[in-house]
């Protein structure tokens, strides 16, 4: 499951490179998101909304605001989840085996090197520069530990929508809007959160 987390981080960071904008260190990408989880046996999708901040090389802050406040912070040092200031989960990077590999993948994608990503997924590209699509399928679909059946990405200047299909048919859909790229360091608040994920 941590794989998905890290993987999304990679995706989020990677796709601006595919679009016209390229992320680099020293910049911060901020925006709003809607996450919908379509789960079998549930009457409605589990829907959450909030804001995110992505600082290349430093990490990702994922603040869910609706239906209630959960903050997830991912950094090279690990992952932390907080609810109302209480830590509910902490995974140090040492317990995330793919961490270093996916950071390589992320770093590669940022600079236009797709090899690491394409080693793991078959990538089908579609659309033009202003409205592109990507369809990713795992190269080793028979691997029982592979938790993803397919990933669909749609974007323009930034990534607009990501849909992840699980082997059992459950789907997660992430929609992004109001994305803004600024060449500035993270705010003090963001920096504190990113640092908190580094404590072991």
């Amino acid at each position: 499951m941590t794989r998905i987390v890290v993987f999304l981080l990679a995706l989020l960071a990677a796709f601006p490179a595919l679009a016209t904008e390229t992320l680099s260190e020293g910049q911060v990408l901020r925006g709003a998101f809607v996450q919908e989880r379509f789960l079998k046996g549930f009457q409605a999708p589990l829907k959450s909304e909030g804001r995110f901040a992505l600082a290349p090389g430093r990490g990702l802050i994922w603040r869910t605001e609706i239906p209630f406040a959960v903050t997830t912070v991912m950094s090279p040092a690990g992952l932390v989840q907080e609810v109302k200031g209480n830590e509910t989960m902490r995974l140090p990077a040492a317990r995330l085996p793919f961490m270093s590999k996916l950071y390589t993948m992320l770093g590669g994608a940022l600079t236009g090197d797709w090899k690491a990503l394409e080693d793991m997924f078959a990538v089908e590209r579609g659309g033009g520069a202003d409205a592109w699509t990507l369809h990713l399928t795992p190269r080793r679909a028979d691997d029982p530990t592979m938790p993803i059946r397919a990933i669909d990405v749609r974007g323009g200047r930034f990534v607009d929508e990501v849909e992840i299909v699980k082997p059992d048919g459950d789907r997660d859909r992430l929609t992004f809007r109001d994305q803004l790229l600024k060449a500035e360091p993270p705010t003090a608040d963001e920096a504190a959160l990113l640092a908190s994920a580094g404590r072991s």
Binding site: Q35, Q43, W62, T64, F68, Q81, V83
Partner: protein, 777 residues
Amino acid sequence: MRRLGALLWLALVLLASGYLALRLHDGLGFRTDLLALLPREEQDPVLQRANDAVTKALGRRVLALVGHADRETARKAATTLGDALLATGQVERIGEGIDVDRLKRLGALYFPHRQSLLSDGDRALLAAGKGEEVATRALSQAFGFAGLVDAGLLRNDPFLLLPSFLTNLPFPLSRLTPDEGMLSVTENGTTWVLVSAVLAGEPFELDLQDRLVGAFDAAVRDMPGVTVKRLGAVFFAHAGSKTAITEASTLGTLSLVGTILLVGLAFRRPGPLLHNLLALGVGMTVGLSGSLLLFGELHVAALLFGSSLIGVAVDYSLHYSASLFDPLSGSPSDRLRHVLPGIALGLVTTLIGYAALMLAPFPGLRQIAAFSIIGLVGAFLTVVLWLPSLDRARRLTHGAWMLRAAAGLWSFWEARRWRAVRLVLVLGCALAGAVGLARLSADDDVRRLQAVSAELKHEQDEIQRLIGATTAAQFLLVQAADDEAALRRQEDLAATLAGLKAKGSIAGYQMPAAFVPSARTQRENRTLVATALDGPLLAAQRASLGLPPADPNDKGPNKAPEGVLTLDDALAADSVPFLRELVLGPGLHVVALQGLSDPDAVRAAVAGTAGVRLVDPTADFSALLAKYRHRALLLTGLAGLLMLPVLIWRYGWRGGLWALLPPGAALILAPAVVGLMGQDFTFFHAMALVLILSIGVDYAVFCAESGVEEQPVTMLAVWLATLTTLLSFGMLTFSAVPAVHSFGVTMLVGISIAFLFAPLAARGTRHNETTNDARLL
């Protein structure tokens, strides 16, 4: 009469040779573990069983870390290594058994009981009335970033109690994480992949060692650029037995060649050399086949010590052959008659010494004693029954200078002009003895007795650092009337253990109760879940998640059963890794400890808990060694006492005591020299004393039996006997195995002193009037 005896002896020797040839043809099984030389502890069979089970489980583990900068290369190399080990047929299984299949079974075992299983953290939260926090955590995981939760689980376990329990199970190997089915850890850009195996047999079987370590080394050779670190008793045992076997052949060859050269140079005739070799060969053959017949197998150490028998067995034939130098010597039969009392008495006293060795309940030492007794009797019978008939040698005349030189020692103890030197020597010895004994301290740590390869030790430390704490040889043994009581005992102990972990005395622990809580705790958990979660929060939780309200009449397969998960269920499913090794029997459980840094703190912390104790196999063995070190000293004293009546019968009170003086001096001075050298006195030093007494008394008897005219010839025989003994036992000083080295040093010093003082034994015997009149000082 002798003819008949000689023929009977020939028949027996042929029989023994035939048996030995047969056994050699079938392939000999040698044992190599030093611990097999030690006695089995008989006082507490439960403890012994637990000790055996845990030590065996640990001993059979093989761990290797395969490292490379490239993850794929490391993974491929790890797979290759695992396959190579499996292909030897000496390995039961590869891997920790934490594969996807097993994890699925683990989930299937726990899932029906999810309401009875709580992680420690959740239990504390619920008990404190903080059910809200548990509910919020589940919601945050359902709604939070990237949705970490499986839908099916969320429907059946809306508070996500089972994932919390599973992720808090105390699996060892803390720094390793599963990475596509392989446990690995990444450090400084190198990916280390774990290859673990469980041996099908004992790590001390030579054949298994050779095949497994051979396959391991071959596989590693074929992986250029890949770093492999290894850990496991089998590697240490293999290195140890390689050393022992190389040493046994090197030292054995040196000893044999040295002895042949010595005898050849002394007699300058092939006859005496062949006689000595014959006596030796027969002694070794009957000794080896006799002990194989008695014990079925032999320990490598018995072979190593036993091969030193060369030095003792040759004494009798040397004594016989040396009589060739006697100007008064007659026919071979006359010469035999002449030396017979000396060598017979020597044999009897030596056998008394070895018989004392037999009294010690050490399987390995019994083998050594049996080997030696049979071998010595064989050598003796060969001298008495065969040599006179085979002997065609004439009196030797070239030995004048040797006789003069040999007799020098005797005159040193007699001549008036040496009095001052004697005085200095005796006082010096007394002083050295007093100082040395005062400085002597004992050390019984069994770990210091085995030669441990520094390279392997380094790799072991590296592995422990990379994968985190490894399981200690020490463990807690929990004993109770039944499983339920034992599980409760562990739960009561959990707070103590958590405290020890917080203090850093241990890095972690696994107890069966962490995998299967007691029925008492499971019932408490159900009540807690019902009152603190389901009652107040379930309806709201399901609504938040968008699930339909729970159906109170649901009796579907996902409804938790009323019963509790039992240890027997968990064991039968064989889905919980490590659990099998922790449950030795009903009510007899092991709490494994990781990264134990302070055994005393753990011992003290559990001291007050009934039915729980820290078992430390190494310390137990060390304590046992201490006990038997004392016993070996007692055996030496006993052997001396048993020899005394024989000596008194032959030489009278005064003479008997004089005859015991040289070996007695050696017994006191040898440990003193060990003390002066700064070595600690161990069990193996003590065992050497038994042999010093046996061999030393031989020299004393040879001297005491000698008439004045024969003194030079006797002394020559004793010189040769001493040199051959030093060539064999003394050689052990150069062994890399500390235990053997200790034995060798003691022998070297003790035998030299027994030889130096040997002429004193002749005082007090009736036929040595002149000697009696000489003054010692």
